[in-house]
């Protein structure tokens, strides 16, 4: 083979490697993807929530000028915050196995979990931080995944964890501060958690027909069918009835 021939072969193989790397790194291509937007509402009045008394942990109590509550959070206009929205049926191929690259995090701050509800893909990185001046012992209590608990003294480095199996939702408690509670929803495909107005946007949804599921810690799950067309956002609103 001539020198020129060798060079062409090398160039061609390099190009192939680069191309395959590109294909692997982008399992869900952004082109032609649709999205679903919507609002989660609560019909009626939210249950009374008792403020949390953190007096046993002064460094946390000092961080809240008005005592916080957990559980059902009503946003303005009756919007419901911290609702997980995901596609429970209809995903196939790359979209079903894609792992979001943006790592999720759960921060222990002011003796509460921020955010209160985290949604995550199986095998996606989750960072656990302690921003408090006190030790926490984070203890997720899954049914389908491996159960663990880990102490994090003040100033300790964050650590990463992953969840292998789908599970909606894993309750998280702190073994030192009994009032602390959070949830981790491990779901396949695109996910979203509603904001303080109850709004959500589900991005990177390939065109198709799906069953959308919303999960709320007090009111449970609701589903509805939705059809997504390329370049045209679909809408799906959910309404929970107050108990």
């Amino acid at each position: 083979m001539t020198t020129r021939g060798k060079f062409t072969l090398l160039l061609a193989s390099l190009a192939m490697v680069a191309l395959s790397a590109l294909l692997v790194s982008e399992p869900v291509s952004a082109a032609g993807e649709g999205k679903v937007t919507g609002t989660i509402k609560l019909d009626g009045t939210a249950p009374h929530q008792k403020p949390i008394d953190m007096s046993k942990e002064p460094s946390c109590a000092a961080q809240h000028s008005t005592p916080i509550t957990t559980e059902t959070v009503m946003g303005s206009n009756g919007g419901l915050q911290n609702v997980v929205i995901y596609i429970s049926e209809g995903l196939s191929g790359a979209a079903a196995t894609a792992v979001a690259s943006q790592p999720q995090e759960i921060n222990q701050k002011g003796c509460q979990y921020l955010p209160h509800v985290v949604a995550i893909n199986p095998n996606e990185d989750m960072k656990v931080l302690n921003s408090d001046q006190t030790s926490h012992n984070i203890h997720p209590q899954p049914k389908n995944n491996h159960e663990w608990n880990k102490s994090q003294p003040p100033g300790a480095a964050p650590f990463d964890v992953k969840w292998e199996a789908e599970e909606v939702a894993i309750p998280v408690k702190c073994n030192i501060h009994p009032w602390m509670r959070g949830y981790i929803a491990v779901v396949k495909g695109p996910y979203a958690v509603s904001d303080d107005k109850g709004n959500f946007t589900l991005n990177n949804v390939p065109p198709g027909s799906y069953t959308l599921t919303a999960w709320q810690e007090t009111y449970g799950t609701q589903t509805q069918k939705v059809t997504v067309a390329a370049g045209k956002p679909a809408t799906a609103d959910f309404t929970y009835k107050a108990k």
């Binding site: 403020p51 953190m54 046993k56 012992n137 073994n175 009994p178 509670r181």
Partner: protein, 267 residues
């Protein structure tokens, strides 16, 4: 050598006695009625044990001074010449009398706490310990604690006692993370634990009681001083034990009523 030892021994004795007699090392303030009796009991024990301590130390020093080994000494060491019988009998009688005497004077303080039922008008509060916090429940205006449903206990929604607020008796119950009691009125706490042994210890009130799962142990006392005191768990209960605490607020009657009304509104 014997003389140096005698001097050091005397110094140790004098300094030890001095820090107690001068009250340099002394008790924290007393904030309960029976606490005064407990302090008296401690003082009697100090005096009794102190006399024995001083006599023994000084006797040792005198003997070390007088009979300590000297240079060129050829005396033979003899242990208890004439036998130890007399000394043993003396120690037996002395310590025995001391213990009997303390038990006799202390029985009233003990009986007032443990053998006398609390007065019927005492403020009643349930205390539930769990890893790693204390929670308190007041019966509310109806004076009744509603039933506890273990399956309804959910810390995430702050139902620490597992009560059903729709039930008669539970409707007006007040659950708090700090306890407040009126000053100069008897209080009875019903102590229970939901997971393992914990301890309920308030230094200033001179109360200390184990909390045992499944046992409702009454503990009564009368606080006498307005203040905010630490409640510490003093049974090693796990990784958060060091952090298991709450506060007891001894308040004036009107302050207590205001506080209770505020807490009732938060339920």
């Amino acid at each position: 050598m014997g003389r140096t030892f005698a001097v050091i021994l005397t110094l140790i004795t004098v300094i030890t006695v001095a820090v107690f007699v001068s009250h340099h090392w002394w008790f924290p303030e007393v904030a309960s009625a029976h606490g005064v009796g407990m302090n008296d009991q401690f003082v009697e024990t100090f005096i009794g044990a102190g006399i024995g301590f001083v006599l023994a130390q000084l006797a040792l020093a005198v003997f070390a001074w007088r009979f300590g080994e000297k240079k060129g000494d050829s005396r033979k060491v003899r242990v208890f010449p004439g036998g130890a019988k007399g000394l043993v009998i003396f120690a037996f009688v002395y310590v025995g009398l001391e213990i009997l005497g303390l038990a006799f004077v202390g029985q009233k303080v003990w009986a007032d706490m443990y053998f006398t039922p609390p007065p019927s008008d005492a403020t009643k509060v349930q205390v539930l310990a769990g890893q790693f916090a204390f929670y308190f429940r007041y019966p509310g205006p109806d004076g009744k604690f509603g039933p506890i449903h273990v399956d309804k206990i959910d810390e995430g929604t702050q139902n620490f006692f597992g009560i059903d607020t729709s039930e008669e008796g539970s409707k007006d119950d007040i659950v708090t993370a700090e306890v407040a009691v009126p000053v100069n009125r008897p209080v009875v706490l019903f102590l229970d634990s939901k997971d393992m042994d914990h301890g309920f210890y308030v230094r200033e009130l001179r109360v200390q009681q184990d909390m045992v799962p499944g046992m409702e142990i009454p503990l009564h006392f009368t606080p006498t001083k307005v203040g905010r005191y630490d409640i510490a768990c003093n049974q090693l209960c796990g990784l958060g034990h060091y952090n298991m605490r709450a506060f007891i607020n001894v308040m004036s009657e009107p302050d207590y009523k205001t506080w209770l009304t505020q807490q009732a509104a938060l339920q």
